[in-house]
């Protein structure tokens, strides 16, 4: 199981479920053909600048539905013609170079500045700079000092935000060749961790190491019975060696990302000699029994074994771990539970089951570790529907190379969260369909600030959709804090972001007098939460305006962040924290914010992962502008950059 594959599978699973949820056909009008053009040249970010040939320049945005692309010629030149009026983004990609957007402040980061064209306008002479990527190369060896081939190498970008280290896997990856050599190229300057992900074709039960005592015993036994194999009195064999397995290892040699060495890369730098050794660790198995509330074996149960929250592993470990170890937890029809090949660490064993017979989503099983992850996603997305899991049991386990036997878990009735979905000002002729609203309860403890963490939180939570009658229920939740999200019809909500648009926006989700749409709900054992009213409205608020410099000229390329003045709303995935990027004429537009008081700030650059970091937001407050939005209010707010910012 490679991380790359898992990322793809995640996308694939989302794509598929999204199709099922929104199989409506939109209008199929053709892209209008326009009269504007954009042309320019791609040059290297070196001195002197030299043209870069064979760069794929992708043009998106405007009113074109399918991004267009052009290839630079030997002089680095590109051109897009017949463009309709609009604002377009330009992104330059070339293998081994750092992908760069036009106008981005930093190579490889940020989505750049859109270029606006009017009908008939020819924008010429744009210059896109491309930086040749840096390289990390080295040799991976096994504990015996021999080259380790076929090991997946994942580079993880490291950023330190407010003293906290955040790691994000980058897309550039490598695999060791027959000599154990790897080479990750095309990297943007910055700090990286290097992680070796051994190819674990043998993921079940680990491998036992042959001991010297066993070899001696076998020699004696061979002498007694002869190779022809006549049965004779052979003494009892010595105990088998411990099971071991190769474990993901960080350069220069730790299983823990927190102790990994950081490789700092400058621009266009080649760093060779990042050599390290994969670690062989003792693995253990766990076994025990699972019973339902009635003491009988559960009819339909599935288990996840994921690194425990607060353990030093990263979310990447968690996702890979869920796919690997979690995929290997078996629960038999007799309720016997077993898993093996588990590396040392702290884990949370979460079991979900249902009283219903098989046939629900829990019955879906795809082959392999990728399948385990995909079915985790599927079950967490579909879990709240009829027949989904309603029972749970959880236990924290510390694995240290020794088997754990005799685990005993009893499934308890999970807590359910229910309510109704209301469309305010709905058109009686074409009523909105509540069954196309997605509802998810995400494990808030799992979520921290990064998108990877949020994905992990989603997988530990439960989800579902509304019913035709407007009711919704998300069931089977273990006690804990959850963030409830509601995805409007025709949109996809995930990781705290929503894409797609139907005109409907969530106005509120009232539980009694409290709006929980941005907050957390505390689910206590045995206490179902009911009576939540989620209201969607078409009376969307809007903030629009123009970003200007001190002289009143248009300023583009500076992201705008709008966030609630209420610090209690600064949670991961909050609807009251959004960002927008002004077009090249400086105009911006943000729709659908809930009514309330907000800070509005323009930044020089923005990493989407920073958005929900309270420390980051706090840092913006001083230079932010306050704005109040009433129900359905549309405000125009121009922003003027201070000379110092």
């Amino acid at each position: 199981m490679t991380a790359r594959l898992s990322a793809l599978v995640i996308v694939a699973a989302l794509a598929l479920s999204g199709v099922a949820a929104s199989a409506q056909v939109r209008d199929t009008t053709k892209t209008p053909v326009g009269t504007a053009s954009i042309s320019g040249v791609v040059v290297s970010a070196t001195s002197p600048e030299t043209p870069v040939r064979r760069v794929l320049v992708t043009l998106g945005g405007g009113s074109i539905k399918v991004p267009s692309a052009a290839i630079t010629d030997d002089a680095g030149a590109f051109q897009f013609v017949n463009l309709p009026e609009g604002a377009y983004t330009l992104v330059a990609t070339r293998p081994a170079y750092v992908t760069s957007a036009y106008g981005a402040k930093t190579f490889g980061r940020g989505s750049g500045v859109p270029v606006s064209v009017r009908a008939g306008q020819n924008v010429t002479g744009l210059t896109l700079k491309m930086l040749h990527g840096s390289v990390i190369a080295g040799v991976v060896r096994d504990p015996l000092g021999r080259p380790a081939p076929d090991v997946e190498i994942i580079a993880m970008a490291v950023q330190t935000v407010n003293g906290r280290r955040r790691t994000t896997p980058v897309l550039q990856q490598s695999r060791t060749d027959g000599r154990g050599e790897y080479r990750v190229y095309g990297l943007a300057p910055g700090d990286y961790l290097i992680r070796a992900q051994p190819n674990s074709r043998i993921d079940q039960g680990g491998i036992r190491q042959t001991t010297a005592a066993e070899v001696d015993w076998a020699k004696a036994a061979s002498a007694k019975s002869g190779s022809a194999g006549v049965a004779a009195e052979i003494p009892a064999p010595p105990p088998s060696g411990r099971p071991v397995a190769y474990t993901p290892t960080y350069y220069p040699g730790s299983v823990d990302a927190a102790q990994a060495g950081v490789v700092s890369l400058g621009a266009n730098e080649e760093r060779a000699g990042i050599d390290f050794t994969t670690l062989l660790v003792p693995v253990a198995s766990i076994s025990g029994t699972v019973v339902g509330p009635d003491g009988q074996p559960p009819r339909n149960a599935q288990a996840q074994l994921a690194p425990a929250q607060g353990s030093t592993t990263t979310s990447l470990d968690m996702l890979i771990g869920m796919a690997g170890a979690g995929g290997g937890v078996r629960i038999g029809a007799d309720g016997r539970l077993s898993a093996s090949g588990i590396a040392p660490g702290r884990y949370r064993l979460l079991i979900r089951g249902s009283l219903a017979g098989p046939g629900g989503p829990a019955g879906i099983s795809l082959p392999g570790a990728a399948g385990a992850l995909a079915s985790s996603i599927a079950s967490s997305m579909l879990g709240g529907r009829a027949g989904g899991p309603t029972l749970w049991a959880a236990e924290e386990l510390t694995i240290d190379g020794h088997d754990i036997t005799g685990l005993s878990l009893q499934l308890q009735t999970g807590v359910s969260v229910s309510g109704k979905i209301v469309f305010e000002g709905d058109d009686p002729q074409a009523p909105a369909d509540p069954s196309r609203v997605t509802v998810a309860a995400n494990d808030a403890a799992r979520e921290s600030r990064s998108a990877m963490d949020m994905l992990a939180g989603m997988l530990q939570g439960s989800g579902g959709s509304g019913l035709k009658d407007g009711s919704f229920t998300v069931g089977g939740l273990p006690p804990g804090a959850y963030r409830l999200t509601f995805g409007a019809p025709g949109t996809m909500a995930m990781l705290g972001m929503t894409t797609g648009s139907s005109g409907w926006v969530l106005k509120s989700a009232m539980l009694g007098d409290v709006d929980i749409a941005d907050g957390l709900i505390d689910v206590k054992p045995g206490q179902d939460v009911s009576g939540i009213v989620a209201t969607f409205t078409k009376m969307a608020t809007q903030i629009s305006g123009r970003l200007q410099d001190a002289a009143g000229g248009a300023v583009s390329g500076f992201p705008i962040v709008v966030f609630s003045t209420d610090r209690a709303r600064w949670s991961a995935g909050s609807r009251r924290i959004v960002s927008a990027k002004p077009a090249s004429d400086g105009t911006y537009k943000i729709t659908g914010l809930p009514p309330g008081e907000y800070f509005l700030a323009a930044l020089t650059d923005l990493d989407p992962n920073d958005l929900y970091d309270p420390a980051f937001l706090e840092g913006l407050v001083g230079s932010a502008f306050k704005i109040t939005l009433a129900d359905g209010e549309k405000k125009v707010q121009d922003l003027r950059m201070g000379s110092g910012s």
């Binding site: 939109r26 897309l171 036992r208 994905l455």
Partner: protein, 673 residues
Amino acid sequence: MNTRSVVISVAAVVAACAGLVAQGAQAPPAPAAQNAPMVRTASISGRVVDADTGEAVIGAVVKLQMRTLAAAAGRGAAGGRGALPLSAAEQAAANGTLFVMGDSDGRFVFHDLPKGPAQLSVTASGYVDNGGGVLRRPPMLDDGQHLGGISLTLAKVASISGVITDEAGEPLVGITVRALSRMVPMGAPTYKLTGDARTDDRGMYRIDGLFPGKYFVLVPQTPTTVPIANLEKNSDGLGGLMSAVNPFIEALTGGAQTSMGPTGVRVNDQLWQTGAGVGGAVSSAPPPPVNGRVATYQTTFYPGATQLPQAGLITVRSGEDRVGVDWQVRPTASARVAGVLSGPDGPAANISIRLVNSPGTNDDDALPVAMTTTSGDGSFAFMGVPAGSYIAKAQQTKSASAMPAGLMAGLPPEAAELMAQMNQRTAGAGGEMNLLRAPVSVTDRDVVGLSWGLRPGAHVSGRVLFEGAATPPTSQQLQNMQVSLASVMPGSPSPFGPSTSKLTTDAQFKTGSQAPGTYFVSLTGVPAAWMLKSITVGGRDVSTSGLEIGDVDLADAVIMYTDRISSLTGLVHADASPLPNATVIVIPSDYRVGIATGAIGRRQITQAVPATGTYNIARLPPGDYLVAAVVDDAMAGDRDQNFYDALARVAKPVTITAGEKKSLDLTITVKIR
């Protein structure tokens, strides 16, 4: 990450879902005697060695598979001496498999085993299994027995490496380089894409893990063309989802630019991309026009050939690192091939069409020259077709699509093809399809205004006869039988296996429509009292040559079964002792008939000679045969006509008549050519 790789994984997930049905139908592990407590006192030990040097292979992982182990564990492992921990026992129960890692001298030991056949295999970094004797002849373990001295041999893998540059001499970065093995396993040469690698930022590639053998090395390129209209129609389907997923990916990757948009260029109303095509996820930027004409990269073989006959065949030995396999990939001027595709019911929308080389060049469906998808009105256009003679292939299935048609339209052609094939297979027996097989010749000018038609594929119908006094199969048994048509070419073009069709209660059958080609016909589910006697179509015996299916239906197939079981058995002698690892091989006397098509592979019977020296071919239909016992080494390498001719010279002729139990002793031939 690009659109294509994501789309492929979407298709893979769909395929995996479709596979669920098949998974559920898997048979449980073979049940053993239910009551007797399983004794676990057997053991086995040995050493893993390098086949070339005889030296220990350190750190190899040896896998032991025993059906009886699964059965033993399932009953709580009663009677075991060193009782396995529960979890390990459960592990074994699940799959009957144990793994050990050899020590620093390559030695390994398994103990506390039940009796039964022990299947051993071994993996080690940098080595491949060379098909050693133990693997083909699982040793039998008895209670209390220790079987020592097992030698597991491994061959060092070979590698091929080099640098790929473009026409300007700049390294081509991140492109796929593949190895195409050339083997002659069954008379006719077959080509199989085996290893692959990506070039790095220096244009360097290294294909590792190659079996010793003969290879072509190539940069596969399949320009694909997708109508923009199809993509736009889909903006709520796949395309829309891509743009919906993009921000999430961006967040996951810390805001890095991960453009998931198409990596192709727009040429009028088409999106055109070059890339590795089927199985290769990476798309590369198309080259700029050459002399005002659209240029393309085409599949290029080392040392720069575009056709297989001009390509260089590289032979690598065990452990060899072949370096300096460098070549240059150059753009070539190309033409546009366009027209309209229609089926029996009118314009054929959203159909994937591929251009493949005409047979006799590098006929290989795995390396299409170009691919496209038809628009809603059946019109199609291939961009970037180099000069040459090609065959256009397409198929249209009538089964209900597993995916909404709108979504299908947005799939890249190769994914659409995969989906279409899957639909065909999941449609079950009697799946109907319309086929396109049209020749097209391209020179230096666009070929436009083509009008291609999909026609129904040919069907094969006939009956099964059961000749003899034994009780004929019941109608229930007949309904459980399936006629199977499998392409004789190894590496069947369909990843979903042969097509099958059920028998009716009166032993009749009619297959679904088939693509033209040569097929091997077989019947499954026949009770053991019956043995295949002959397969004829139009009175002609096709059991050796294979059945050639063209455009027209074949209506008079007769599959004849007999209750007079004939067999061949005997003792194998050798000049040397102990008996070397040897194989008994039986081929029909008219073996040459099947060599050209490769169908000989389906008619030759091989059996590893057990330690007892007695071979037993329990079911051998009546006919004239040639039989030989040869050492395993003599079976290695190409099995071309020379091999079979040489085999025929050392073989004993034998005629089997209906119901005959023939005995024939053989002497091992060490060298046959």
